[in-house]
Symmetry: C2
């Protein structure tokens, strides 16, 4: 936790911040902070600053806070991700958030196991956990938007055209001919398929929407490795 | 498992391959293979080919195999990694191996917790597991070499000069001035520090050995995210 992410409900009437639970435990056990010390804080959706510890015991952390700078710039990318298995999902969301992705669409594909859509990891609060951890990791405050799209065809036909308008549209595909572009500055919509890849129908559908299949190399990477690798190459 | 990694002891006297244990279970439960089907196989340290399933039941998988091509090219990089916490170590080793790293030095740093060096994850067989999984993921056969260096100063002073000779030497450092270079073709020695980063003494010691501190961006990434991100940018 390189930044303590604060929400409106963390503030008391006199403008102090009062924390318990996970963040308190982390400050006690990992930061091993003391009264008087300053910690990096950020207001969810807002600015970054410093919090000075005014009280710290096993029940409560109290800080006075001052915000003075903007969070880091987001990556100009919308990530379309075939829904990964639940234990991987959390790590991928954390990694993508820490790298600055602000819109993630978890979509269905033929090779996504049906049971993944029933995972408790997709419920609102559980889905938000890795996003918060990713922001705290990267000292960011702007929560990404995560969209669940359990039907491929209506998503790609009806919703994707508006979502990807005026962006460079790329789909990672093991048998693509084009190499992964580097060092882009404009906005990108990046599609990453499931284990085993997109099926030809899916690649065709994405190509109809203007997606260029790109080749990421001979080595097949796990999605949690591929996401940082591709994002880092693109920007 | 995109490739079944085979070792000499998997071969019977008549040249067939006979597997039990983890690889058998994976072929049964994930590949759901049947007799007659072909699977991608590779000989540890050698070539890649196809294995045809001749017998498959709950006890044994038997295949005839033929090898016909070289594994993918390695990344020309030596990775010096501050020893991460044990649960992270496995994921980082797997990711680095899948990306083609062939030499990984797990080194001590001031901010590496002493207890990490006592982890059972560092024992020979346990350390090899994520390497094998990384090769199987990326369809590679060449096991990386992993060196454990629990003392920073003697490693950097006595051993590193030979290890990093004639390579571009880079140390990821949050307050560095130089950006991460892109698209290198020659060999690189890349140092990645612990959570919290290298201390100034360590950066000075690395600089004495010719390492350029490089800046990976404002966002602080977890080591399992940073490793694929940096490797992907460099090559």
């Amino acid at each position: 936790m390189n930044l303590i992410l604060l929400f409106n409900e963390d503030f008391t009437d006199d403008g102090r911040v009062r924390l318990a639970g996970r963040r308190l435990r982390h400050v006690l056990d990992v930061h091993r902070a003391e009264v008087g010390q300053e910690l990096c804080v950020g207001l969810a959706g807002g600015m970054i600053g410093r919090g000075r510890v005014r009280r710290l015991d096993n029940e409560t952390l109290e800080m006075t806070v001052a915000f003075d700078r903007q969070p880091p710039r987001p990556l100009p990318v919308t990530l379309l991700l075939a829904l990964p298995r639940p234990k991987v999902l959390k790590r991928v969301l954390l990694a993508a958030t820490s790298m600055g992705v602000k819109r993630i669409v978890l979509m269905n594909c033929f090779r996504v196991e049906k049971s993944f859509w029933k995972s408790p990891a997709l419920a609102g609060d559980r889905l938000r956990e890795p996003l918060v951890l990713g922001l705290e990791q990267a000292r960011d405050t702007m929560l990404p938007e995560v969209l669940l799209r359990p039907r491929f065809k209506p998503f790609v036909e009806d919703e994707l055209p508006a979502l990807c308008a005026d962006t460079t549209c790329l789909a990672a595909h093991p048998v693509a001919a084009a190499p992964c572009p580097r060092d882009l500055s404009g906005p990108v919509t990046l599609a990453i398929g499931p284990e085993g890849g997109f099926i030809p129908y899916e690649i065709d559908k994405l190509a109809e929407r203007g997606f260029t299949p790109i080749f990421l190399g001979e080595r097949i990477l796990r999605v949690e490795t591929a996401v940082p690798a591709v994002l880092s190459k693109l920007f």
